[in-house]
């Protein structure tokens, strides 16, 4: 290994170790008009992925208007959480479906 390569490897190792906690993808299942889990704890940068097992279309719509994801029948949809704070969300088509996301900074 040449000195250059060693330097590069060290740099890569250093860069990787200094990266903060990796963003995660958190899965929420929709089955028979229920978001499960209904409560999610996440961090800024995480992604929520809704997996719709129903044969009906649903949405995940934040009550504060920050995001609105349409999830087709047997499809999935996702949103990247950009802002910290608590958000309630619901399905626009079936407003009796409710969920909650707590986003840590």
């Amino acid at each position: 290994m040449t000195p250059g390569r060693i330097g590069f490897a060290a740099l890569v190792a250093y860069t990787l170790s200094s990266v903060p906690v990796q963003a995660e993808t958190i899965q929420v299942t929709i089955d028979k008009l229920v978001f499960a889990p209904a409560e999610v704890n996440a961090k800024v940068g995480d992604t929520i992925e809704w997996v719709n097992k129903d044969a009906l279309a649903h949405t995940a719509t934040a009550t504060n208007g920050d995001w609105n994801v349409v999830i087709g029948p047997k499809q999935s949809g996702r949103v990247v959480l950009k802002k910290p704070g608590a958000a309630d969300y619901f399905c626009k088509y079936h407003p009796n479906m409710k969920g909650h996301v707590l986003v840590a900074p």
């Binding site: 008009l33 009906l56 279309a57 626009k92 088509y93 079936h94 407003p95 009796n96 479906m97």
Partner: protein, 173 residues
Amino acid sequence: MIARLSAGVLTFCLLSAPAFAQGAKPTDPQIAHIAYTAGQLDIDAAKHALEKSKNKEVREFAQDMVRDHTEVNKQALALVKKLNVKPEDNDTSRALTKQAAAKRAELAKLKGAAFDKAYVANEVAFHKTVNGALESTLIPSASNGELKSLLQTGLKIFQGHEQHAEHVAADVK
């Protein structure tokens, strides 16, 4: 006033489900027919709204009704086929159909915002009636487990529609 009174009487009759007044529980073939009929009537009402309404929110709601009720009825048909049950016409289905025809004639005379308001108000009332019947009579009477389960999911969907219709009603007021 007379029209309002008779609509009230009809609603009362539906809620009290005259076909089962003698304490006879509806059979699975009758339950399947009632649930399917209610769905089809709501699809027809939604298609009527799509012909008449120019309001974006009302049209989106109507499209949601066509999409959801078509899917639920598709599942209902698949289930009755699988169970080898032949849906059977009955007084409740006939009363629902008659009431829907009267409402359609009433709505046909209206235009613009008056139509939107009346259509959405009827959607709230119709889902309320059907959900009440599902909870009090149809679900408890269903003897087949798969039929019962489909009705229970249907109830959740239609309760969602009822709330959705209430939101739209508040906006078109």
